[in-house]
Symmetry: C2
Subunit: 350 residues, 2 copies
């Protein structure tokens, strides 16, 4: 009897141990955010989704109103040393000059053609705008899409020597997928060109073209020599989707206020304010680039080096603290940065 009882006890332990491992496995399998370290940031995301999707909760949000907007550069993918779209435009200058030789000796094109990296890095915003206009407009939509696709397939970033579309943040891919799995429609709200981001947003982020809000240029509908309808990209700016332009662009394209908004720089402040002003459960988060080893470190918030590319000012940090916006520390909150790092479980369906 004693022997039998001991055996039963042992069996019980084995069953218990088995259950524990099963639960651990089950928990590991169902953690929707494996690249996020446990802590207040991850908890805030899980809690937001829990309360807004529970019909019994006073903060429940009907599925059709579940809108989440994501800045792109510095929020979904790397923006340093320079925005990817600017790299595309700089690379496109030689082709533009071939088409329009009169630009060869004109600034800022002359500087770009010189290949002098120090001089190029000092180009002003108006200079860059001239380069963007010359390389992003004047062609048909079909030509533009083909050119961007071709560039993305061959261009490599200077640090990791990988295609730019590899430099997406695994934790943000998981976050977008988790929100979608819970009935949220995920949108990009970027200062980058709407047409540019649309070329790869579906493949890279699982976000279809109609859910990309960006800086918008006009197009002109006309006919080619064979009478076929064409859309040509105009240099006319319809909306600069940055700062106040972000809520304006979100209204124009979506017509609803987001329940969650994610950014990383002063250009995202108005989008987060606008989101929060809707009341009820709203989630506002800012990515803080504080990990020079695995990615980059810049601020000036947090005493990090200042930058013109994705400034996170001290004022923005104060605003975040005052208003209860969550600051995502890349160093502390993410156990994995990129999908191609060995740490990352590649489980996000895109």
């Amino acid at each position: 009897m004693r022997h039998a009882a001991a055996l039963l006890r042992l069996r019980g332990l084995a069953v218990f141990a088995g259950l524990v491992s099963l639960c651990v496995v089950a928990f590991a399998q169902t953690d929707p955010l494996p690249s996020w370290n446990d802590g207040p940031t991850k908890m805030a995301i899980l809690e937001f989704v829990r309360v807004t999707t529970d019909t019994a909760n006073s903060k429940f949000v009907p599925p059709e109103e579940r809108i989440a907007t994501f800045d792109q550069d510095g929020t979904l993918w790397v923006e340093h040393p320079m925005y990817t779209q600017v790299m595309y435009s700089l690379d496109g200058v030689p082709a533009v000059v071939t088409q329009k030789p009169e630009l060869k000796n004109m600034e800022p094109f002359k500087t770009v053609l010189s290949g002098n990296k120090a001089a190029i890095s000092k180009l002003t915003m108006p200079d860059l705008e001239k380069i963007l206009a010359a390389t992003l407009t004047g062609m048909t939509m079909d030509q533009f899409n083909a050119e961007v696709q071709k560039w993305l397939a061959t261009a490599k970033d200077p640090r990791w020597n990988r295609p730019y579309t590899d430099l997406v943040y695994q934790p943000m891919l998981e976050l977008m997928q988790y929100l979608r799995d819970n009935g949220y429609k995920t949108y990009i709200a970027t200062g980058g060109g709407q047409d540019f981001v649309r070329v790869y947003a579906s493949r890279v982020y699982g976000i279809p073209p109609e859910q990309v809000v960006g800086t918008m240029g006009g197009t002109t509908y006309s006919y080619d020599s064979s009478g076929k309808p064409i859309l040509t990209k105009d240099p006319k700016l319809l909306l600069n989707d940055d700062k106040a332009g972000k809520p304006e662009g979100i209204h124009l394209m979506i017509g609803r206020r987001p329940y969650a908004a994610f950014g990383n720089s002063t250009g995202d402040k108005q989008m987060l304010e606008y989101t929060q002003a809707g009341g009820g459960a709203r989630l506002m988060m800012l990515v803080h680039h504080d990990d020079a080893k695995r990615e980059y470190a810049y601020g000036p918030a947090g005493g990090l080096p200042p930058t013109k590319v994705g400034t996170f000012s001290d004022a923005l940090m104060s605003e975040a603290m005052k208003r209860g916006w969550h600051v995502i520390s890349i160093k502390d909150d993410w156990n994995c940065v990129f999908p191609w790092e060995s740490c990352a479980p590649a489980r996000v369906s895109r």
Copy 2:
């Protein structure tokens, strides 16, 4: 034996008759377009959906690319004697003049205030644009939405003495629902104000705000006296969503080419051309208002009276014939026009 055999035969007949009634019932229950008369127009719709949703068909369209765009005025609801948004704006003139008394003796406001219907009906397009700008801009989005909602709840159309939102076409509601049931995303592409149509599109058509493409005005993001973020409607026109503006607006808002497009006037020609130019199975249709008894009759196509409100020109009719666009005859193709007519089975979920 004979008796038994006869009985079996009778029973067989009864079973057969039962099956027939079952099939009739089943067919009646599954006809997705009961307000459409059998004929080539209805057949074209059914055939388009069949080939584009059958994975085995060479014309199969992946679900994410299934986009259908609908003009609103004259395509989804009544546009005569005048566009509903213009009625809204005319009704809003007294309130505008109360706010800005200096407009009282200025044209075109003076004419509107006179109540002289003959004079009002002669207002030119630039006159109407002044009235639209004065009544559709200058307020916050929240104020605008509340004002439109209030007006829609009380205003009645002059012929049927019903709310304007009752004057939707039952066959088009069925068509939109049928397309949605087959994985199509239905969009409005209207010359009317995007913000105006968004107020009721969800309730009336089952189309959410983010799927309304219309004439777009700018907004300005700022703060009210308490520091709360507000969006104010500007008089700045971003895009006139008519004629060439329709494909331009569709590109801006959707970034994909439609597979099906529905209109009723010369303002829809470019949208249909653009749709067809995508190749493969595409469905282009134009509603022809040829039923003065049940709705209105105007052209001038088909020898019907000319109109400035929703012109269907002879040139457009030739274009339709030449390009294989289907012309929907209200008289011949629709057995029912409005959802509140006794003929209409009110089965469309919105």
